[in-house]
């Protein structure tokens, strides 16, 4: 029981540290600022979670988010119809990759590694120099200021609730997780493993698209390298959220919490701690290690 609360405890730990260092940050305005980039990170983490649920790994999600960002800041604004077709097409490419990986029994690490070059190349072709502009409706959406609760928190709750319902509470969600848990049993029960793999990859593509769009809605313009850090961030988020690499053991709520923890630990906490820029990356790593160490201590006590 305590183990499933670990992701939330990690988040609380980071929040307490922030509150202790700078009490003023714990406010409507403070959270809006600190969690600014949490929405795209949470969406990318959910995207990664779907492939991990099927025992695969997507090393291309970061460059894919960058590619989507470039499409969003150019075609989606200037020729919305074409933009939508391209984004839907890219989700289709993800579905095809799932089929290819299943049919040819390929290691997803390598296929997605190759695809990371493809997405990056396409992004550079679309936008050789940083620029473009987000569509107005997207800017308006991301700048939404609801009363009392900051938008990133509402968005995170919404994402977690929707994905949790879809993956943990529906019967096809169970099948999808089962493809990672015991694919042989699933196959004998008459389910198509090809279809589950396609579904998982398409969902990854869908959430990757949402992540890229949300990111551009916040940054207002795009850059081909804008999403590169998301690959490792999303994997770390899933693991922080209690997910495991094999066995279809993932948690959408945990993944969103993991993403929020990383988003907070990444820059706001470090700024408040007055860590010099040279050591910020190290502090990121250290926070990741501390959180994971706390996890080990707690689960050991539980036994």
């Amino acid at each position: 029981m305590l183990r499933s609360l670990l992701p939330a405890l990690s988040l609380a730990l980071v929040l307490i540290a922030i509150a202790w260092l700078n009490p003023r940050a714990i406010s409507y305005f403070g959270f809006s600022l600190m969690l600014n980039l949490a929405i795209p990170i949470a969406l990318a983490t959910i995207a990664q979670m779907f492939v991990i649920a099927g025992n695969e790994l997507d090393l291309s999600i970061g460059t894919f988010v960058g590619f989507v960002g470039c499409v969003t800041a150019t075609w989606l604004k200037d020729a919305p119809l074409l933009g939508v077709v391209i984004l839907l097409g890219s989700i289709g490419v993800y579905a095809l990759l799932g089929a290819l990986i299943h049919l040819r029994n390929l290691p997803s690490i390598v296929v997605t590694l190759g695809m990371s070059f493809v997405w990056q190349g396409l992004a550079i072709l679309i936008l050789p120099k940083p620029g473009g502009k987000a569509p107005d409706w997207l800017l308006a959406l991301m700048a939404f200021k609801p009363p009392f609760i900051p938008f990133p928190i509402i968005a995170a709750l919404l994402i977690a609730a929707v994905v949790h319902f879809g993956l943990m509470r529906t019967s096809y969600g169970v099948i999808l997780r089962g493809s990672g848990g015991n694919s042989a049993a699933l196959k004998r029960a008459g389910w198509s493993l090809l279809r589950t793999k396609i579904a998982l990859f398409a969902l990854t593509g869908l959430f990757g698209v949402l992540s890229g769009m949300a990111l551009i809605g916040i940054t207002t313009s795009a850059d081909a390298n804008i999403g590169n850090g998301y690959t490792l961030l999303s994997i770390a988020g899933v693991i922080l959220g209690g997910g495991e690499f094999v066995g279809g053991r993932v948690s959408p709520i945990g993944a969103v919490i993991g993403a929020l923890t990383l988003a907070l630990a990444a820059s706001p906490l470090l700024t408040f701690m007055h860590i010099p820029p040279d050591w910020q990356v190290a502090a990121n790593g250290a926070i990741l290690i501390i959180v994971l160490a706390a996890r080990v201590l707690i689960s050991r006590r539980e036994r």
Binding site: V110, V111, G121, V246, V281, A282, L292
Partner: protein, 315 residues
Amino acid sequence: MASLRTLLARPWIWSFFGALLVWLATIAFTGGYGGGGMITAALSLAVFTVIVGVGQMFVITLGPGNVDLSLPANIGLASAVAMKVMDGNDAMIAVGLLAALACGMAIGAVNYLLIWALRIPPIIATLSASFVIQSVDISYGRGLQIKPPPGFADFTNWQVFGIPVLAILTVLFTIGAGIVLQRMIYGRSVLAIGQNIRAAWLAGVSVGRTRFLTYMLSGALGGLDGALLAGYFRGANVDIGNEYLLASIAVVVIGGTSVAGGKANVPGVWGAALFLVLLLTMLNTFGVSVGVRLVLTGLIIVGVITAAGGQKALR
């Protein structure tokens, strides 16, 4: 004919085949001009990928989830350490190389300590470690402009009849790695753990020690690679190792090593490294833009693995 068939059944032959094909395509484009020089250049550059590739191969062979993501940071830090210790002095070359090796081994030890103590997947442990190493490097190597000692720079660029000496040494090293893997208790233990960690443990393989040694080995090779890169490119650099994260994983898998672990392939690492370097040379020769080059590189990696994957399914 039978011997040809056994040769074709070996997964590593395909990576060499791909490399040959890319080389032929390039010299067909240039009309036969510069074919020899291209091989020399490819051998010089492939060496650096092969060295880290072998380390990554041992790690990946340990089984699913085992991968060393700290290699780029490791290479960067070791290149700075090597240059600082050598300090442009020919007499200090050996000491500098040892320092880089020690630095790499320390990183490997830290990696395994995190995996063991925190019981986290190696992918997360080495990632967290690489963040810390990267900062140490930024802080330690800031504004470092020490040139390698002339003797060391000449050594890394030394060629005999158009064949880089470093490449010859690396071939000998990979033969050694092959013997370690297939004929020595340590190598057999790595393979056994990759095939079934529990069975290996029950059979008396010291799982912890073997994994520890493997991460140390990968770290040491990363450190060595950093020193050699700094010699070859005449200076240390924080970003010098960046491309070796993807490259080290790609050569291992294209070379026919199983990402599921338990099955390694040493010659394939050479074939895949040559293939990737020649591919880059070919696309540069064709004069395509960066974007097109990246797209083609990606599609070719996916294409190669799709073709090689079919081979695996047949058996």
